[in-house]
Amino acid sequence: MLRIRQDLVDGMVAHARADHPDEACGIVAGPEGSDTPVRLVPMINADRSPTFFRFDPAEQLEISKQMWAADEEIVVVYHSHTATEAYPSRTDVSYAAEPQAHYVLVSTAESGREPGPVSVRSFRILDGVVTEEDIEVLPAPDPQGETD
């Protein structure tokens, strides 16, 4: 089960729409061991491709150092599929190397950059085995308390 705030889901979807038809990718970081996604980090798709994504190694290092200093870890790895369903491909499975992470797939195949239906699904990928899990969406924090 992935429990994640509505604003973080909205952020992943907005990123996927903005980068459509290329695949978008990023992470949601959270405190180590908490299994709680807190901080959305949209990342560069170094391949800028409609069928492939790869974290930019320099950006990934930078984010990894920030997380190290803040005792955070990757809680969610997300990326979009722009012409196919929100289900991990063989490539996704072969690269999956974050055993603690929820792998979130956003499919923009139906509505592209426009408002409309998107599919958001979450998976565990361990030792090559894909297991879909439920997503429980939690309310976004009170906008009054937000500074942006």
Partner: protein, 96 residues
């Protein structure tokens, strides 16, 4: 002093859960050999040995003091006391 090696979550089963280990060596290859002595199995997850040549595995990124060594000498990259080596899994995928 020694070289600090930061271990990604997926490889911490080899380090008893430790986030970082320390080692000695003048090159990355020597460093990973040294660390292997205390954390057996770790080296093979980072280094690919084929036909008696060793190279970094394709799905792993290794940085010495923020420099991605894939572009600067790979396993023969020099390391020295006080250096920080970061090992990260490459994160990639796609629709196909």
């Amino acid at each position: 002093m020694a070289v600090e090696v930061r271990i990604p979550t997926i490889l911490r089963t080899y380090t008893g859960g430790e986030k970082a280990v320390s080692g000695q060596g003048s090159t990355l290859a020597e460093l990973f050999d040294d660390v292997e002595g205390r954390h057996p199995g770790l080296r093979a997850r980072i280094v690919d040995e084929k036909d008696s040549t060793a190279a970094l595995r394709r799905f792993v990124n290794v940085y010495v003091n923020d420099e991605d060594v894939r572009f600067s000498g790979g396993l023969s990259s020099p390391v020295a006391d006080g250096d920080v080596v970061v090992v990260l899994p490459a994160v990639a995928g796609g629709a196909l």
